[in-house]
Each structure stands twice: as C-alpha cells, then as structure tokens.
C-alpha cells in the first residue's frame, strides 16, 4: 500500500492501481462517460482528466486521465483545479455541440455548469458519443459482434458490412449499458430485434414468461457447460420447483420424526 494526496488529503492506494478507482473509493465525484468497470479503461472521453504533480517536479504539473493513470508513491492529485474544470467544461461544451438532442448529455453537462454550447451545434448530430462501452463489452463477453467502424468524425458503431451481425446473440448488453441509450432494440411477442437481426426469446414452459434469447442461452450452454434445460423455465418457476423439491425432503423428515 502507498500514500498519495488527493485534494490535500492523504489517501491509501495500491501501487499501480488506476487513479479513478481510488477516486471512486474515496467518493470523489469525477465524470467518466466512457468508463465501465466490466471492461478495461478506454481513455476516450477525457472527462476524468485531473491535474497531477509531485514534489520533485517543483511546480510543473501534468493533466492525465485518471481512468488509466497508474498511481505511484508521492503523487499529488487535484481533481477540481481551475484548469481541470476548464478542460472538463470545454469537453462537455464539445459534447453538447455534437449531441444537441441527448438528454443524458444535457444533464451531465449541466451538472458541471455547461448549459449551452459556445460552438456551432451539429444539428443532425446523433446521440452516439463513440465511447466504445458497447463494443468493448461485446468483445469482453466473447461475441465481437459489433465494432467501431470508419475513422475520425464520421466514425460509427455498426455491425460488420452494415448487415445483421452473425456473431450477435441478442443479449442486449450493448443497449443496456449505452450512456446515452442510443442503441435501439424491440422486444415484441416472442421476438427481439436489435442491429437489424431477429432473435427468438425463450418462453418459460411453466408460466409463459419471456426470458433471454435462444441464441444467448445456446452460447452459454455450449461455452460455459450449463445444461440447456436450466434456461427453459423462468426464475420464479425455478423457485417454486425448488420449494416443492425441498418440501418433499422436509415432509419426509417431518413424518420420520413424528
């Protein structure tokens, strides 16, 4: 364990631990739009930028993204210095200009004092901030179904060849973790459609409730050796069944004792 100073307070941390996880542990609020603990830090949105310095740097300071900065002994961090606030506000200003119709971006920006953009608004700007959370989660889960396509300002998140992604199992992890809820999907009747691909939802054989897609269940069954039958009834019916199974045993012991 080493000691570092954050906003004047001495704090304990693991050598080499990412600075953002220390800030989170110390309940210091720093925006981190492109961060998700399920995946490696990305360093794309730059909102978690903080000012760091050390005694031996005598006055010089650097601006680093806390999500990726490995802490080391003697680090002195200020998370809300004037310059850091200015950087944060400029980036949020750029976000508001790029995503004028996104309520999540508007709310985040206002939280840090940015109420309108000083730049030229991109009127038809969509709400994808290219934070990469969806593609990184999809990779982490082993599907690699969607990816960042193109380069620079015109970059988008898309399935390969802009067709229904062959590797997608409809698990929705991309849509459910998108900070601006940009990824569209629809659950209707027995089917789910996402990325222009249709999936059949498993219907609970007992009560008819819909659970996850068949493709997702098949993937889990094949790759994580979970018997496919487990997926065929919903969690509520599983609980009922468990109660009946344990009930038999309890009843048997009850009769045994009396």
């Amino acid at each position: 364990m080493i000691n570092i100073t954050i906003n004047g307070r001495i704090v304990q941390a693991e050598e080499g631990e990412y600075l953002l996880s220390v800030l989170k542990r110390e309940k210091i609020d720093v925006p981190a739009l492109c961060h998700h603990d399920a995946v490696e830090p990305y360093g794309g949105c730059r909102l978690c930028t903080v000012e760091i310095t050390k005694k031996e740097w005598n006055g010089w300071s650097d601006y680093v993204t806390s999500c990726l900065y490995p802490v080391e002994k003697g680090l002195i961090v200020s998370t809300h210095s004037t310059k850091v606030n200015e950087i944060r506000k400029t980036i949020l200003d750029l976000y508001v200009a790029r995503h004028p119709n996104s309520p999540e971006i508007k709310e985040l920006a206002e939280q840090y004092g940015v109420f309108e953009t000083t730049f030229e608004t991109i009127a038809d700007g969509d709400n994808c901030t290219l934070c990469g959370i969806c593609t990184r989660i999809c990779d982490e889960m082993g599907f690699h179904a969607i990816s960042l396509v193109g380069r620079g300002h015109g970059k988008i998140v898309a399935p390969p060849l802009n067709e229904a992604p062959p590797d997608c199992t409809g698990c929705l992890s991309c849509a459910l973790n998108c900070p601006t809820n940009f990824i569209k999907f629809k659950d209707e009747g027995d089917y789910r459609t996402i990325w222009g691909k249709k999936f059949e939802l498993i219907t609970c054989s007992q009560c008819g409730k819909k659970t996850i897609t068949k493709e997702f269940a098949q993937y889990l069954s094949d790759n994580r050796d979970i018997p496919y039958e487990y997926f065929e009834i919903c969690d509520e019916c599983h609980r009922k069944q468990t109660a009946l199974e344990m009930g038999k045993i309890a009843n048997w012991t009850r009769e045994e004792q009396s």
Partner: protein, 145 residues
Amino acid sequence: MKKRFIVNPSTCTGCRNCELACAFVHAENGKLGKSRIYPIDGGFKDLWVPVACLQCDDAACVKSCLVNALKRNPETGAIELNHDICVNCKACVAACPFGCSLIDEQHELIVKCDLCGGDPACVLFCPTKALQYKPIDNKTNKIAV
C-alpha cells in the same frame, strides 16, 4: 470456523418476515429493494420452504457471467454480485436452477443474496429459527454446538 446459512423448512410458518427484512435492508433512495428470499408452498399441508441462494460450489450463475461480476467472498462464503461490473444481461437469472438470481425491476438491477456481508437480516427476523447462520464443524458437517 466457517459459518453456513441453514434453512430448516420444518419450523417455517410462512410468516414472510424474512422476505420483508430482506426487502427493507436492500431499500434504496426510499424504495424497497427486491427480496432475495421467498418462503414458498412446499407442496404439503402447513409446509413452507424459504427459498434463497444456496451459494453453490459449482455455481451456474458464476459460470454464466461473461464479465466476471460474480465472485465468492471467502469470509462469508457468499457469491457476491458487483453491480459496477454487472452489464445487466440477465444470463445468471436465466441460468440459476434455483431461481435465486433476480431482477429488481424498480432499480433496474440484477440482485442475489450476499448474506448481508456476514450478518443476514432474514436470520435476525426469523421468529422460529427456520433460518440460521451458524458455524459448522467441518469434520462432522453439523452445527457446531
């Protein structure tokens, strides 16, 4: 000695105190949490079975989690879900053969029993000791007296 969560359906009266306690303990910003324990009809007269996570050794939920959000806490023996890592894909809910991974619709979260970090509320509130959290003599595998 390691403690174990013990369920004794024969003394359970189905009063659902445990369910209430669990919901209360996991309340957030004023709204009740989703209980992780449900006394359910055991299929025989006056027989209730409190169903809660069995903290399995070879847990289907842990195997189903593709982002490693479910890890066992060595002290309490409970499999704990890290909400920051969880991507809400509901694989564990679908995979658990006992239905003990649940969806908390209100807070849009996946939840499971983590034995309240070693001091389960349901045990405290169970009037008939149907639920206990006692050290186990790992030789005899019986409740250590």
